[in-house]
């Protein structure tokens, strides 16, 4: 009897935390690509938070005397045509890019998967539920039928070129992905025997949905989330590149590439190439994290991975 209360005590929770941490490190040792992904994402987040400490110059202050300087010790990545320090601007950029991407993706994930869960749960009931589900799905079809990029530009054009409207555009474009993903998951999960068993033991619809269906449908959503954040950063940059996104002096990778690309012809490659590399590496990092989350969110796959870790130790 006392054991069970010990299960909730502070000490065992701490032990569980230590165990989880050690397990994570073991996984990272065995899967270096996962480690690389986490390292990149962590680096980008650190850059965003500590940008003022890391950046040697103000990101939005132009120094016309030092325009288009090549990479040197004074300006690590050189300066752009207006004389702003490119390294400082790259360091500051994740503040904008990550905010937009995270907010846009989170909104679309929460709204999309909630609607998807409801649609999936009531789709097979017949009557009004099926009709409503069909309507929602066709609406999602229409949303997805638009070319993503044109749709996003149109939204920004309508709502104006502000941070909020870019976030809204990204949320709108991504929501159908989560809606479909969640719906297909819920359709499969709701026919599982444990859902029925829960119903048989007297659980309400809401309880079944919250306790059984949504947690069991989350693994692909979580994996999609990370990939999608990377993809949203790309979309933000692309919007800025064509001039529909973040406005000029604000440090943002896409607009930096756009500002610098005329200079490539005349041989000054650094204003475009460095933000481009930063962008590519960041997106790659989020994709790797997505792959690792997919494995770690599923207890059975996590267990299989843990088993393979243990076996690898034996011969050594």
């Amino acid at each position: 009897m006392t054991d069970i209360t010990a299960g909730h005590s502070e000490r065992s929770r701490w032990e569980a935390f230590v165990y989880a941490l050690r397990f994570l490190f073991a996984v990272l040792r065995a899967r270096p690509l996962f480690a690389l992904g986490y390292f990149i994402v962590l680096l980008v987040v650190v850059l965003a938070i500590f940008a003022p400490l890391i950046a040697p110059y103000e990101p939005e202050v132009a120094n016309p005397v030092d325009f288009l300087q090549g990479p040197s010790w004074r300006h690590l990545f050189g300066t752009d045509a207006t004389g702003m320090d490119i390294f400082s601007r790259i360091v500051y950029a994740p503040r904008i890019d990550l905010t937009i991407a995270l907010a846009g993706t989170m909104i679309s994930a929460v709204v999309g998967s909630f609607i998807g869960a409801v649609v999936g749960y009531y789709q097979e009931g017949g009557g009004f539920g099926s009709f409503g589900a069909g309507f929602v799905m066709r609406a999602a079809d229409v949303l997805q039928a638009f070319p993503v990029f044109v749709f996003a530009i149109a939204l920004v054009a309508i709502f104006g070129q502000s941070l909020e409207s870019i976030i809204a555009a990204i949320a709108f474009v991504n929501a159908p992905i989560y809606l479909r993903l969640m719906r297909s998951q819920v359709l499969a999960i709701r026919n599982m025997r444990y859902v029925e068993a829960s119903y048989v033991s007297g659980a309400s619809d809401l309880m079944i949905m919250l306790r059984h269906i949504i947690p069991n449908s989350m693994a692909p959503i979580l994996a999609q989330l990370s990939v999608n954040i990377g993809w949203s950063i790309l979309l933000t940059a692309a919007l800025s590149f064509v001039g529909a996104g973040v406005v000029a002096p604000t440090p943002e990778w896409g607009s930096m590439i756009a500002m610098g690309f005329q200079n490539i012809i005349t041989g000054q490659w650094w204003p475009s190439v460095f933000p481009g590399i930063a962008l590519a590496v960041t997106v790659f990092g989020f994709a790797l994290v997505g792959a690792s989350v997919e494995v770690l969110a599923d207890p059975a796959r996590r267990r299989a991975l843990a088993g393979s870790l243990r076996e690898r130790k034996k011969p050594a």
């Binding site: 025997r193 007297g202 659980a203 309400s204 267990r303």
Partner: protein, 338 residues
């Protein structure tokens, strides 16, 4: 534990005292542009407090449909056409969904097969037991956890404190079945429906699990409807045995009476199928067992019956009481098996 201790002897056939009383139940599944499939036909069945009734039948005989009808869980498009289901004095068909939900898991529990798929893969099994207790009993988290742990001990799971935190994929089939039993018994229900609960287990584990289930049911003075396709199990396990064929009860008797003197040719065939003597097996089994639909009023079993006579094709037999509480639905009940 269960409130009032009642012995089987107390009730003497008074209909009000039955825990579950099914009368004239008809369940059908409509089929497009055809006659509906009548899965359960004019079925009467009662289970007394503390009694274990076995329900034996082959695939498609209506066992599961009956169980689901009792729980109010018929799968679409099945529907109850007629008849009454009274549980503990309450008319189950008249209850609202909310009232049914309060009864399910609390007063009636159901054990369905494939134990592992009945457990949510993301929740530790102890928590799943506790969740059912919390949903029905007015208790806190710690108390529910304690009840769940007690249940894990009661179903003889080795190292219960560790298993409490185990995920379903970490358990063997036998252990998962024990957990499922713990879930169904945690609220000390008055009635348990076990639908083919042991079908996925090997024989040794099955014997242990059944033994345990019976002990627990007896301790809690719970009644049980034990649905199975294995007639052998019922001999040791049940107080009374009902044989269902094509949605009809064809024989219903005390276990001893049933196995001493089975009277319906179908029951005899089921028993003979287990016999080691091939001559006995063949004697009661038609090699070309027809499954053709039985027209109109004939006996349902006539096409497969080795004792078929003209009367079998003309009149549908009623369930008659032959001998002490031994009911048989046959015009020409079997006198001697061998």
């Amino acid at each position: 534990m269960a409130a009032a201790k009642m012995t089987v002897a107390v009730e003497a056939g008074a209909p009000g005292s039955a825990m579950l009383d099914i009368a004239g139940l008809n369940v059908s599944y409509p089929v497009y542009e055809e006659e509906p499939v009548r899965a359960v036909q004019d079925l009467d069945l009662s289970v007394r407090p503390g009694e274990i009734v076995g329900l034996v039948g082959e695939s498609g005989s209506g066992k599961t449909t009956l169980a689901r009808a009792v729980m109010g869980l018929l799968t679409q498009p099945g529907r109850i056409d007629d008849g009454s289901i009274r549980f503990d004095g309450k008319d189950m068909r008249a209850l609202s969904e909310n009232q049914l939900r309060a009864i399910r898991g609390r007063d009636i529990a159901m054990v369905i097969p494939n134990p592992r798929s009945e457990l949510d893969p993301l929740i530790p099994v102890g928590k799943q037991i506790a969740a059912v207790a919390r949903a029905h009993l007015d208790i806190g988290r710690a108390e529910a956890d304690e009840m769940a742990l007690d249940m894990l001990k009661a179903v003889h799971i080795p190292d219960p404190t560790r298993r409490f935190r185990a995920f379903p994929h970490e358990l063997s089939g036998g252990m998962a079945q024990r957990v499922v039993m713990a879930i169904s018994l945690v609220c000390s229900p008055k009635f348990v429906i076990s639908d083919d609960a042991t079908s996925g287990l090997d024989v040794t584990v099955q014997a242990q699990v059944l033994d345990l289930l019976r002990t627990l049911v007896r301790e809690h003075d719970t009644s049980m409807l034990f649905i199975t396709r294995d007639i052998g199990i019922t001999a040791h396990f049940c107080d009374r045995v009902a044989v269902i064929y094509r949605g009809e009860i064809v024989e219903f008797a005390e276990t001893a009476s049933f196995f001493d003197n089975p009277q319906h040719p179908y029951s005899v065939m089921l028993l003979a199928a287990f016999a080691h003597n091939p001559a006995l097996r063949n004697k009661w089994h038609k090699p070309l067992a027809s499954t053709e639909a039985v027209a109109g009023r004939a006996c349902q079993y006539a096409p497969r019956c080795v004792h078929r006579e003209d009367a079998c094709d003309e009149r549908h037999p009623d369930l008659r009481e032959l001998g002490a509480r031994h009911h048989v639905r046959c015009h020409f009940p079997v006198e001697r098996v061998a």
